[in-house]
Subunit: 378 residues, 2 copies
Amino acid sequence: MGDVADLGSLATPSLILDETIMLRNIERLERRLAALKVSARPHLKTVKSVDAARHVLRNARGATVSTLREAEVFAEAGVTDILYCVGIAPQKLPRVLALRAAGCDLVVILDSLAQAHAVAEVSRKAGEAIPALIEIDCDGHRSGVRPDDPVVVEIARILVDGGAELRGVVDHAGESYGTHGEASLVAFAEQERDAVVAAVAQLAEAGFACPVVSVGATPTAHFARDLSGVTEVRAGVYVFFDLVQAGVGVCGLKDIALSVLTTVIGHQTERGWIMIDAGWMALSRDRGTASQKIDQGYGVVCDIDGQVLDSLIVTATSQEHGVIGVRPGSGAPLPDISVGTMLRILPNHACATAAQFDGYQVVTAAGGLDYWPRFRGW
Amino acid sequence: MGDVADLGSLATPSLILDETIMLRNIERLERRLAALKVSARPHLKTVKSVDAARHVLRNARGATVSTLREAEVFAEAGVTDILYCVGIAPQKLPRVLALRAAGCDLVVILDSLAQAHAVAEVSRKAGEAIPALIEIDCDGHRSGVRPDDPVVVEIARILVDGGAELRGVVDHAGESYGTHGEASLVAFAEQERDAVVAAVAQLAEAGFACPVVSVGATPTAHFARDLSGVTEVRAGVYVFFDLVQAGVGVCGLKDIALSVLTTVIGHQTERGWIMIDAGWMALSRDRGTASQKIDQGYGVVCDIDGQVLDSLIVTATSQEHGVIGVRPGSGAPLPDISVGTMLRILPNHACATAAQFDGYQVVTAAGGLDYWPRFRGW
């Protein structure tokens, strides 16, 4: 498990992962889903790490991924039940077949007749019925067909008659990221459940069964009160949490497991700026809190031990420079933080910030320091 | 040089680099700087590729980098004259010494007494005079001291008396990215030159020489009319150009060498959306044109051959989904582009988009296809 954690010895910027917080976040969702009597299918697009996935998947039915590269890496690491949860492009089907041939039960999603024809044709030619979920649109956020659209049954028919497999339905309440507070999140969770349940009913009436009924987004996963009719829940960012999720009301700052370690490299005292060596290359360009009630800039500043310095945020970035300033309206004075001081920045969006790094410097639950590599690409 | 370029055979998303356009961009700046009788010190933070750097540096005095990792990779590849152009943190000085010991003339920059003391102390202890440029602030954009601030001479004195080397001065008109048009860009270039020339005069009066007087930003490098007193010009994004630079007025869309190859994966016809498999993970979260006269969303859409489809931009992204829509106000109809069609997206910010990929799929000047790996990290 490595040495005792001495973050001061690390090069900056580095990506710090607090394993204790991560494990607490994982347990929290596990408890919720167990109480709701539904399986978990965690989304590994956030962690992109085999080491982290071992914790995330320990009580899960299977995994969700956002790229075929993720599917390939996690299949190689022994994950045998994977949902590739981005609408399938016909050109990607040979890689889907290769993964299935290697023993991974990889499932695709689709929302059009064109995709259904492509999946059916490739299945027929390969003699391998590729399983597919029909993507249902519950909130106008992104992809999917409306649950009552007759095209749902048309897609099912093309799949089944054409030699593919209809595995079920899937949706994602992406609009829930744009809201705040319990009442609204509970409503989004109900809307997400209602949409797939309605699609299942339409399909049942036409004679098609849906063994898998998959819903999920981190906010709805934490606020659903009833998941009758749902077989599995997907969520990803809950493993680390971030400022956007705190702004939505799903977690507090103390639940954010991820931060960027940085060093003070200068001051522009007249302008109220402390310059750091974490720019957008380290923090990412994500400004997800810009549209929330509290705009956290490019991140909230903590000391090297992770204690939040609440009046300070990263107000601007260039590629390798960050500017720390006092939060607008706080009225707090700019503290005197000397060149060479190390700080930590909580990210707006864990998926985006983590993706800027090749790996995690893990402060382990045992108090040591470990390194977990990440991967990327498609 | 690989096969004949068949982009249709590539997995998506992929990062496409048009070598012909890149070479034209490099030649353009080389011609300008030759006419101004000043050396080039290209910034390699944009390309982060040894293969690309061979072209970029062919007529340059040396290189500029934004991380010590870049310095280490390019030094290993044979670049012996490198400016690390982010204010030095004391903790990084051992790596600076190691690079210098390996034969690379690595130069650091600084703008504070604290940094000057640290560089002097490490130089003295190592018996190696680390060369430093004093960073001058010409436009209030980021770091640096004002050219007439007496601290300029104090820093010089600490360096020289302490055992380090004063190599000269450096500035960067970062605010020029926020303007538009020739008159303003010419003025920014003059302001950038004036600031370092004034700092050199202050230092000369105190008895300090400045062998290196370094200015630069892509906009000012292309619009400077007189660089008397300047010894070298830095620029980085000019190698690829991007939509931000087009918005500033430094290039046209036809000069953008970089694009993201993507595949259509669905439609939301009622909402006027075409869904693609390039989300922010591929395009980056950079929205640099949002504050310009023409907001290009997350990028301008081209067909697979690179022909601009002017009415279409990427209007929204999630991690692995992009949404193409008609440019607001264009009044154009949404074209019928079927699932499986491949498109290319011109990026807002080449440095940010390129950083999302492990390498370039290069359409070579000879018409073939090549692959140039990129690196990242700090």
